[in-house]
Amino acid sequence: MSERNPGIDLDLEWVSKVRVNTQAVLKRAQQVQGRKVAKKEWQAAWHLKAVTCIDLTTLSGDDTPSNVHRLCMKAMQPVRYDLLQSMDMHDKGITTAAVCVYPSRVADAVKSLKAAKSNIPVASVATGFPAGQTPLKTRLEEVRMAVEDGATEIDIVINRTLALTGQWADLYYEIQQFREACGDAHMKTILAVGELGTFTNVYKASLVAMMAGSDFIKTSTGKESVNATYPVAIVMVRAIRDYYLKTGHKVGFKPAGGIRTAQEALVWLVLMKEELGDQWLTPHLFRLGASSLLGDIERQIYHYVTGRYPASHELPMA
C-alpha cells in the first residue's frame, strides 16, 4: 500500500465551518449517474478495474471455515481464467483487493490464503461491528486480536452517539486509539452514514475520522437501513478532497452495502474519477465493499468475451 495518512491535530474550526447544500449534492449525484462509460472493451476494462477494488466480503452469523475458504479462492481468481485469457488479462494480477470477514474468521482466511501462496490482504471488521455499542475497552481489544490473527486491514465503526451529539473531540480521540491499536494494519473508518442524520454531519464525521488518521473512510456497515448512496458518497469524497488539498494526505474511500450490479460499480468508479481524479482509481485509495457484486461483473465480462449471457451454472460459485 501507498503512504498512510498520519492524521493531523483536531481542527474544530475547520469542522465547524462545514456547510453542505442538500439539493446541490443530489443534483450533482444525478449528473454523475448520467456520465456514461463507452461500451465494449471500455466497459470490460472498467469492470475489471472494479474487480480489483472489491473487498470481497462475508459477514454472516453462519460463516464457517469452509465458506471463508471458498471466498478466499474466489478472491484469488475472481473471473474465470479463460475469460481473462481471451482479453489478455490473465497475467495482469487480477484479484480482488482483499477479503473481509468477522474477527473470529480472520485466522481461517489467513490460513486459506497462505496455503494458496496468495498475498491478498485479509480485512476484518471490528469495534463492536455493526452497532459499535460495546465498551471502548472491548472494542480496542477486538482490534488488537484481529491484528494478532493476521488481519492487515481493520474496518472500524465509529461511535454514532458521539457524532450525533456533536462530541467531535471525543470521537477524534476514540478513533486515534483505534489507529494506535491497529499498528501497521490499515484502518478503514465506517461512518454508518445512514445513522448520521444530515449531510453536514457526514462531512464533519469524515473530516474528524481523517484527522484522527484513518486510511480509508467507509460509508456503512451494510447493516443499516440506508447504505451507500451516491449523494452521501459525494459528500464524503468532497471531504477527502478538502483534506487532501489542505494537508497533502490522500485518504481512500470505500462504499459498502447494497452494491450488487456491474452497472452500479461503474457509477462508483465514475464518481471517483469525476470528483477525485484518476489517481484515486486504484485499490490503494478505492474499495468496493460487496459480496454478490462480483458474480454480476463476471457475467458481464462473459458477455463481452463471448457475446452471450451465461447460464448460472457456467460461472464458479464463490
Binding site: Q31, K39, M89, L245, G277
Partner: protein, 790 residues
C-alpha cells in the same frame, strides 16, 4: 469472440479513460431533412413553400459539413406570408379558448412523439434544445390558452406578432411564440439561420397538431429579412430575443413605423455568480463548472468570491478542472475573440486556470478561469461567448452587490450561501430579473424572466410573459417614417422675444417648475409664453432643457431607492395626503384648468374630482400589488414580485392636463418609482399650479419633478439621459420615431392623444380595469427568486 479494436483492455485498464461517446446517428433528423431534399423552404400558410430563384444560406453541422440549405425570403414571400398571417389571425382569435388550448396540448404530445427528431435537429444545428423543456413549455401555455378569457378579461391580442431571434436561443424563441399563440395572436417567426431548421420542424408539428393555416408562418433568411418583415404593414407587434447590438439596430431601423417592439437581450449578458463564505463551496464550484463550461452557452458569468474562501475556490477549481475537454464555441472567429480576451487579461496580470492549452485552430476552447481579473478587463466588460470565466474577490455582502450591479446587464444572478437572510437580502439588492439561490440557473416556464438595463425591455415566461402579446388600450396606428434629422431633433434654440404691444393692463404672471423638489426657474433662465385658447398670453412658464432634466434625474436617483424601500402602506399614505391636498385646493385647480383650456368651470371641476379619485385609486392599490409564489415542478420555493423600474420620464398629452398628470403620477409613484414629468407644451398651467399641492403633501421631495418647456427639447433631453429607464410619451409621430431611434433600449410606451377603444372606454376619464392594469405593468419590472430545496 467480440471484435477487437485498437484499444486493448489492458491499456484502458491502466488509463481508465471514459472512451469515445457513441456518435449519435441522427437518423430521424437525417430522414426528415432528406424528405425536404436538404433544402428547407419557408413555412407559409400551413405548408412548406420553396420559391425559385432565391438566395440560399447553407447551415452546417458541428463538423463543419453542409447540413441543409435555407431560403432567403424576398419581398414577395414576405407579402404572402403577412397576408396569410393576417387571415390566420382572424380565424385563430375567433376560436374558443378551449379549441386553442387543445391545439397547444396536441402540439405538446406530438413534441413528445418526435422528441428524438427535435433533439437531433437541434444538435445538428448546434443549438441547445431540450425536448422535455419544450414539452413543458407547450403544456404550460396550453393552460393559459384555456384560461385566457377567464383570467384576462378586457385584454385583446395584438394581432400579427413577429417573433425574431438570433442564432442561439431556441428555447427563448418558443418562450415567445407559444404565449403569443396562447392568447390568440398569429405569429410570424423569423429565426436566426441556425435556428431555422428546428423552427421549421416545430412549425410542421404545430400544423399537424391542428393549428389553422397562417397562424404560424416561418420566414427565413439573413438579417435583412428581419427588417423587411418588421416594416411590413400587417405586423402589429415585434418581439426579439438575441444580442444587444442586433436588438438595438432592429429598433432603430423600424423607428417611425409605429410598431411597438419588446426586446429580450440575454445573449452575452454577464450574470454575477456570487459565492459567500457561508456557501457550500464544493457545490458552488460544481454549479459554476456546470453553468459556465457548457457547449454553446449564451450567458456569461462573472464570479465574485468572498475573500475568506477565495483561495479555497481557486484550489478546488484547479483540482476539478484537470483533464476537462475543450468546449465548442460558435465559430472560428468567436474562438479568436475568446483567445484575445484571455491573452489580454493575462497581460494585465491575471492568473489562468486552464484544463489544457488552447488549440491553435478549430471551433473549440478549453475551460478557463481567469483569476484576479481587473473589473475593467474586456472579459468583464464585453465578454466573448466561450468557456471563460473571470473571477473577482469581494470583502462584504455590500461589496458583492456593488460588483454584481456594476454592469450594463441585468438578466440573472446566482448566489451561493446557506444563510437564507443573506440570500434574500442580496437577491433584493441585485438589479437583475431572476436570482437563483444555490443553483446556477433554472428554466421553467412558470418563472418570469425579465431583463433590466441593457438586458431587455420585456418579461418572458409565467403569466407576466403574456402581457407582451396583449393590449388593453388602443394601439397607435401604423405610420410611415418621415425623414428626421435625429441629431437636430429638439435642439432648436428657444425663441425668446421681448413682448411687443402687449396690453400693459393685464400683466401676465410668471410660473416656476419643480426640480429637485424645489420650485425654480429654468436652468437656462429663459421662459416661454403660455397662451389661453383665445390667444392671449396668460403666463410665462420656465423653458426647461437638458440641464433641468439632469438635475431632476440626479435628485430622483438619490431619493428613489429609499422611496422604493418604504413600506407600501407608507407610500399609500403619501398618495392619500396628496389627494387630500388636492381636495383642499380643488377650487383653484378648477379655475386653473378653466383658464388654461377654456373648458367650462363645471367640466373643469369634474376633472379635478376625477383626479382626486384617481389618486386615491393608486393610493389604495399600493399595498395590494400582486406578488405571488409560482408553482414549480421541482421542490423548492420561488417568489416573483414586481419592483419599481427606477426613474420614469413622461411626456404628457394636451388632453385632460390635470387628470392625465395625476394618473401617471399616481401609478408610477405608488410602485416606488421616481418620475420626471413634462407637462403639455400647450397647456402647462394646471401641472405647474399643481406643484404647491404636491409640496404640501407627504410625497418626498425629488420623487416627482415637473419640467415645463418645449416638448421636443425635453423629449430629446429625456432620451439622452441613460439613467432614465422608461419613457412614456403622448406626442407627435416624429417624437415617437425619434424615441425609438435614439433610445431603443429604454422601456418605451408610445401612445397617441386621447384614445377611445371599441367598448367606449376612454383612456383618461373612464379607463377600464385592464387599462389601469396596463399602466401599472408599465411601472414595474419583475424579479423572481428561486430557492431550490431537497
Amino acid at each position: 469472440m467480440a471484435e477487437r479494436s485498437s484499444h486493448s483492455v489492458y491499456d484502458i485498464f491502466k488509463s481508465m479513460e471514459f472512451g469515445p461517446s457513441a456518435p449519435s446517428a441522427a437518423l430521424t433528423a437525417a430522414s426528415w431533412l432528406e424528405l425536404h431534399s436538404g433544402s428547407l423552404g419557408l413555412f407559409i400558410d400551413g405548408k412548406f413553400v420553396l420559391p425559385d430563384n432565391r438566395q440560399t444560406v447553407m447551415v452546417s453541422d458541428p463538423k463543419g459539413e453542409d447540413l441543409c440549405r435555407i431560403v432567403c425570403a424576398d419581398d414577395e414571400d414576405i407579402f404572402s406570408c403577412s397576408s396569410s398571417a393576417a387571415a390566420g389571425f382572424q380565424v385563430w382569435k375567433e376560436l374558443s379558448d378551449n379549441r386553442r388550448a387543445k391545439v397547444l396540448l396536441r402540439f405538446a404530445s406530438s413534441l413528445q412523439r418526435y422528441s428524438q427528431c427535435v433533439c437531433e435537429v437541434c444538435d445538428l444545428c448546434q443549438t441547445p434544445g431540450s425536448a422535455p423543456a419544450l414539452i413543458r413549455l407547450a403544456q404550460y401555455y396550453a393552460g393559459w390558452a384555456q384560461l385566457r378569457h377567464t383570467l384576462l378579461p378586457g385584454w385583446s391580442p395584438r394581432g400579427v406578432v413577429a417573433v425574431m431571434s438570433d442564432d442561439i436561443l431556441f428555447y427563448s424563441l418558443w418562450l415567445k411564440v407559444l404565449p403569443a399563440l396562447a392568447v390568440g395572436n398569429s405569429v410570424i417567426v423569423v429565426p436566426g439561420v441556425k435556428l431555422a431548421p428546428p423552427t421549421l420542424l416545430l412549425a410542421q408539428l404545430l400544423k399537424e397538431a391542428g393549428l389553422p393555416a397562417g397562424v404560424l408562418n416561418v420566414v427565413t433568411g439573413n438579417n435583412s429579412v428581419r427588417v423587411k418583415v418588421a416594416q411590413n404593414h400587417q405586423i402589429n407587434h415585434i418581439t426579439y430575443s438575441g444580442s444587444k447590438q442586433d436588438g438595438e439596430l432592429l429598433v432603430k431601423q423600424i423607428a417611425g413605423h409605429g410598431i411597438p417592439v419588446s426586446l429580450s437581450l440575454s445573449v452575452c449578458s454577464v450574470c454575477p455568480f456570487i459565492i459567500f463564505e457561508t456557501a457550500d463551496v464544493d457545490s458552488a464550484v460544481d454549479g459554476l463548472m456546470d453553468a459556465a463550461f457548457k457547449n454553446y452557452s449564451e450567458w456569461r458569468w462573472l464570479v465574485c468570491v468572498q475573500e475568506s474562501v477565495y483561495d479555497a475556490v481557486v484550489e478546488k477549481l484547479k483540482f476539478r478542472m484537470v483533464g476537462m475537454k475543450c468546449v465548442s464555441v460558435s465559430d472560428e472567429c468567436e474562438r479568436g475573440r475568446v483567445d484575445a480576451a484571455v491573452r489580454d487579461a493575462e497581460q494585465q496580470g491575471a492568473m489562468l486556470i486552464q484544463s489544457c492549452s488552447p488549440p491553435s485552430s478549430g471551433c473549440v476552447y478549453p475551460p478557463t478561469v481567469v483569476c484576479n481579473t481587473a473589473p475593467s478587463s474586456s472579459l468583464v466588460v464585453s465578454p466573448p461567448l466561450g468557456p471563460v470565466v473571470p473571477l473577482l474577490s469581494f470583502r462584504s455582502a455590500a461589496e458583492a452587490v456593488a460588483l454584481g450591479n456594476c454592469r450594463p446587464h441585468g438578466r440573472a444572478a446566482s448566489i451561493w450561501t446557506e444563510d437564507l437572510t443573506l440570500a434574500l437580502e442580496t437577491a433584493k439588492s441585485l438589479c437583475v430579473g431572476s436570482v437563483c439561490v444555490n443553483t446556477p440557473s433554472v428554466t421553467d416556464p412558470s418563472l418570469p424572466q425579465s431583463g433590466r438595463r441593457e438586458s431587455g425591455t420585456c418579461t418572458d415566461g409565467g403569466g407576466e410573459g403574456l402581457y407582451q402579446f396583449l393590449r388593453a388600450s388602443v394601439a397607435p396606428s401604423r405610420s410611415e417614417p418621415v425623414s428626421l434629422d435625429y441629431t437636430g431633433f429638439g435642439t432648436a434654440a428657444s425663441r425668446f422675444l421681448v413682448p411687443e404691444g402687449s396690453d400693459p393692463s393685464s400683466v401676465s404672471r410668471s410660473c416656476s417648475h419643480l426640480v429637485r423638489g424645489k420650485v425654480c426657474k429654468a436652468d437656462s433662465g429663459y421662459s416661454r409664453e403660455v397662451r389661453a385658447p383665445g390667444g392671449t398670453v396668460v403666463a410665462h412658464c420656465p423653458d426647461g432643457g437638458r440641464k433641468d432634466v439632469r438635475n431632476a434625474v440626479e435628485a430622483a436617483l438619490k431619493v428613489q431607492p429609499g422611496w422604493m424601500k418604504k413600506s407600501p402602506a407608507t407610500r399609500a399614505l403619501a398618495l392619500y395626503s396628496l389627494a387630500d391636498s388636492l381636495e383642499k385646493r380643488k377650487q383653484d385647480m378648477a379655475t386653473s384648468i378653466h383658464k388654461q383650456t377654456g373648458l367650462s368651470i363645471e367640466e373643469a371641476a369634474q376633472e379635478v374630482e376625477l383626479s382626486i379619485s384617481r389618486l386615491s385609486d393608486w393610493a389604495a392599490r399600493c399595498d395590494k400589488q400582486n406578488r405571488h409564489a409560482p408553482l414549480l415542478p421541482h421542490t423548492g420555493s420561488a417568489l416573483s414580485a414586481p419592483e419599481a423600474v427606477g426613474v420614469v420620464g413622461v411626456v404628457l398629452p394636451d388632453t385632460k392636463p390635470l387628470l392625465s398628470m395625476v394618473s401617471v403620477l399616481g401609478a408610477t409613484v405608488s410602485m416606488g418609482n421616481a418620475i420626471i414629468m413634462v407637462p403639455s407644451e400647450r397647456f402647462p398651467l394646471p401641472a405647474l399650479d399643481f406643484i404647491p399641492i404636491l409640496q404640501a403633501s407627504d410625497v418626498p421631495a425629488g420623487v416627482v419633478s415637473v419640467i415645463s418647456g418645449g416638448r421636443d427639447q425635453l423629449t430629446q433631453a429625456l432620451a439622452n439621459h441613460n439613467e432614465i429607464q422608461a419613457i412614456w410619451y403622448w406626442g407627435s409621430a416624429e417624437g415617437r420615431q425619434f424615441l425609438q431611434h435614439c433610445s431603443p433600449l429604454k422601456r418605451l410606451w408610445l401612445l397617441c392623444e386621447e384614445e377611445v377603444d371599441e367598448d367606449g372606454w376612454k383612456f383618461w376619464s373612464k379607463p377600464s380595469f385592464s387599462m389601469q392594469e396596463e399602466m401599472w405593468r408599465e411601472c414595474v419590472v419583475w424579479k423572481s427568486v428561486w430557492i431550490p430545496t431537497a
